[in-house]
Structures are given as C-alpha cells and as structure tokens.
Amino acid sequence: MDSCERDFKMARERLDRDLAITNEDLGRLEENVMACVRTQRKPGLSMKGIVGAFAALVVLAVGLPPALERAGGVAGVKERILSGIASLGQIAGREEPPVPQAVPEPQLGAYVIHDKAYYVPTEEIVPPEQVGAELGRVQRIGDWALKREGDSNAYPPQMNVYYVRNGADPKKEIVLLAKNNSADPGVYTVMRRAAVVAVDTSAILHAKNDQEEVGYVLENIRRLNPSFYEFRDVEDSLVLHLAAYVPDQKLVRMMYGVKGESGTITVYEYPRAYAGSSRESMHGPMYDDAGTAVTSEFEEAGLLWKRYKAVYVTRQEDTFYEVHIETQKTEDEVRRLLRYFVRTSR
C-alpha cells in the first residue's frame, strides 16, 4: 500500500468514526422503510384483488353446501380456506414485479449482439479445440436502444471475443471467450441465439453517446412535444451527446458537448406544473423563476431570458426552458448561442 492509499485509508477511518453509523441507526432505517412500505400498501387492494375476492365469495356461497360434504366437514373447509387465502396472497403478489434472486456469473439477462441477433449465455463451457474462426469482439458495453454488432450489456468491450463453434451453425450458437477483465483467462461459453434484434425507432426516448440514437430521440421529441425547443444550426460549436424525453410529464433533457472546450451545456424543458414537484424521473431542472437572484435579463431571438449565474431561463406560455452553461462561456457568447435556440416541434 503506498502512502497515498494509506492516507485515504486513514481518511476513510476518520469518516467512519465521524459518521458512526450504528446498528441502532440501521434498525431505525429498517423500521422507517418498512413502515413506509406498509403505509404504501394500505390503499393497495387493487381492482383485480377486489374482483378476485368477490368472485371467491360468490363461489364460496354457491358451492359451500355440497362442497362441505365432499371436503370432510368444517375442519377440511377451514384448511382449504386458509390455503386459499395463502394462494390469494400469491395471486396478489403476481401484480408485483418478480423478486430478483442472487444471480451467478455470467449474469442473467446478459447478451452479445451478433448478426443482428441476441446471443445469450448457456451453462455450456467448451474446450479451445471446439473454437473456430473469430466472428467479432464486444465493441461497447451498455444498453442502447439501437443494437449494433458487438454490443453487450454485460461483457466488457475488446477483451470479449466471440467465435464460431466448430461443427455448429453460428445462426444457432456461437462461443464467447467470457472475461471479466484483461487478466482473466476467461472461459469459452456457448452463447445461444435468443432473438432477432427488433427496434422501434419511433419509441426511443432516451439516448446517450450514440449519434444515430440521439437523432431518433430528437425526431420523436419534435413529433411528440409541441413546445420543444433546441439548438439548431450550431453543428460548428455544439455536439448533442444526450437527449431524453419523459412524455407523461413533458420533460426534456439534452446535453451538448462544446467543441474546442471542456464542459457541457445542458438544456431542461418542463411544464410549469412540474416546477417544484417530484424530480425523480431524470436529473431534474433546478430553476423555476422563484426566489433566486436574477443577474441579468435580455432578449434573444424573440425569447426573454433571465440569467441566474450559470443558468439561463426563459418561459414560453406554460413551459420553462433552462440552459445550464457548464463551460467558461461569457454572457455575450451565451447570448450569441441562444439566438439558435428555436422551436422545432411539428
């Protein structure tokens, strides 16, 4: 351990002492969380549950007398009812999402894209003799909407190479040398072709670091959001890295890289009703015209802008537009840029 790491270790120990998270703290946390969970559930008797319970009562009322005889009297019925209640719980539970279990490596849901199809790991491992020609290697890791050759949501790029399995049809299975890191020798894992990639580009509403995908998102926002504004004709100075849209709340987030400068420009667009409400859907906007000191005001391209330090805000009808300048741009430079902030919705 070098001195730097030692210092950090001491700092971490110091933090642990300062924070002093006790078992009581954890107990309180658990108690509070579980109390909230219970409270959230109170109104949670869903229509499906109500209908189910009503149906059960009807069945019980109609079928009770003859069933009593068949079921060996009241004790037998009681037992059945109890087990019925237990199964009702299970039925109610079906509405809830499945509980994740501990997942062994390679993880569930892992895939590699090859030949416009998903290949998922099987439990079969093969010796090197069964490995044939190289087909490709994982190019990027993540979960993009547009799947490209070599995409994976689980295997790190470059080090994970996939091959033909000797004697097998690559349309059905291939072999991936699955590695967690470059020092890992890896294992030849048989990957089964699971499904052909099918992407509805009109449904992509979030994209990052993929220009084509970002382009689709922009198209979709223009189509879906009549209040949409964006920077246009600024290809010389800005590159759009991220575009996201939450249709229910009409929230837009776009992040531009600035050519020749470090830092970014982020744009948030949201309806007035959203300001001050929950911001859990995305990294939400910060300003809503309330309270903060305005450092300057000006008009550009027909929009009246207010500047709050590094954030420029304008409002059109009931929509707020925030432009967060996370670069060294002066106000004049920002103003020049804002001339290209225009409505593009259709």
């Binding site: 998270i21 579980m34 849901g109 309270g291």
Partner: protein, 172 residues
C-alpha cells in the same frame, strides 16, 4: 424470498454503504439517513428494473448516487447550504485544542476531499473509500471508464494541489 424480506436483507447488508455514499454528497448524517430511506423505498418500488446485470450493491449505489444528485440540485439543499455557510462563519473561532485535533492527517485529507466539487469528490470517494473499481464506478455513474479515469486524475491533481498549498502554509 418475499419482497419484504429481501428489502430487509438489503437494508441490513447495504444500509451503511447507502448512508455513507449519501453522506459523500450531502455532508450531513441526518439528511444522508433520510436519503437512505428514500433509496430503499425507491429500490423496493423499482425492483423490476433490477435485471441482475449488475450486483444489488452496484444497483443500490446507482440509485443512491442519482437520488443524491437530484437532492443536491434541489431548493431545499441550497437553502441548507446557505444556512451551513452562516453556521460555519459563526463557528470560525475554534478553540486551540480543536485546532490541534484537526491537524490529524486523516481528518485533514477527509476535509479536503469533502471540499472538492461533487464531480471530483464522487470518483475519489467511490474509488478510495468504497474501494470500487473504475469499471464499477463507470457503471454507477453511467459514464465511460475513460471518463471516470480522467475525472479521477483531475480530482487527484486538485487534491494534490490543495495538500501542497496547505503544507506551504504550514497547516499540515
């Protein structure tokens, strides 16, 4: 395992980590505990989004980091910062023995790390305090590994400068 039991298990196994991580952002234990509560509720509500492509721990880190980032952007937090600013100004007259105690190197480094901007602080704390690998941090922060590495280098450089400045002024 039922959802409730699983949630309890997550709190017991990862509660400290979540509180600690929240503290890295908000620098206040009580707020960090409140955030931890919300993080676990969110995890419970979004359990179906946990697809098993990451460990539960990484997933919880991610929820915590995102929640904290939202929080530090909120008006409530901004108000709190202003209040803390005034409180710090009032407390500036430390007693001599307090000053001596603060010379402890671990605490000084911790204080300097905590003063870094969030973007620098998070990578340092996640790597050196939480002992996460760059790949894991990249996954948690939804960034590229190279970006994380660059941010870490930059943060370390800033930290080194601060240490040198403090040493030059005889504070360390």
């Amino acid at each position: 395992m039922k959802r409730d039991e699983m949630l309890r298990e997550w709190i017991r196994a990862h509660g400290r980590m979540v509180i600690r991580t929240a503290y890295y952002y908000v620098k206040d234990k009580m707020i960090a505990e409140d955030i931890a509560q919300e993080v676990f509720l969110k995890a419970y509500a979004k359990i179906e989004e946990f697809r098993g492509t990451a460990s539960v721990e990484t997933w919880l880190y991610r929820i915590t980091v995102n929640h904290c980032k939202d929080y530090v952007r909120s008006w409530a937090y901004r108000k709190l910062l202003v209040q803390q600013h005034f409180e710090r100004a009032r407390d500036e007259g430390d007693l001599p023995e307090d000053v001596l105690v603060k010379k402890h190197r671990g605490e000084e480094l911790l204080a300097m790390v905590m003063k870094l901007p969030v973007k620098d602080r998070e990578v340092i704390l996640l790597h050196y305090f939480e002992e996460l690998k760059v790949k894991e941090i990249a996954e948690i922060l939804s960034d590229k590994e190279t970006t994380v590495r660059v941010r870490m280098m930059r943060a370390l450089k800033k930290l080194r400068q601060k240490v040198e400045e403090e040493e030059a002024y005889g504070l360390l």
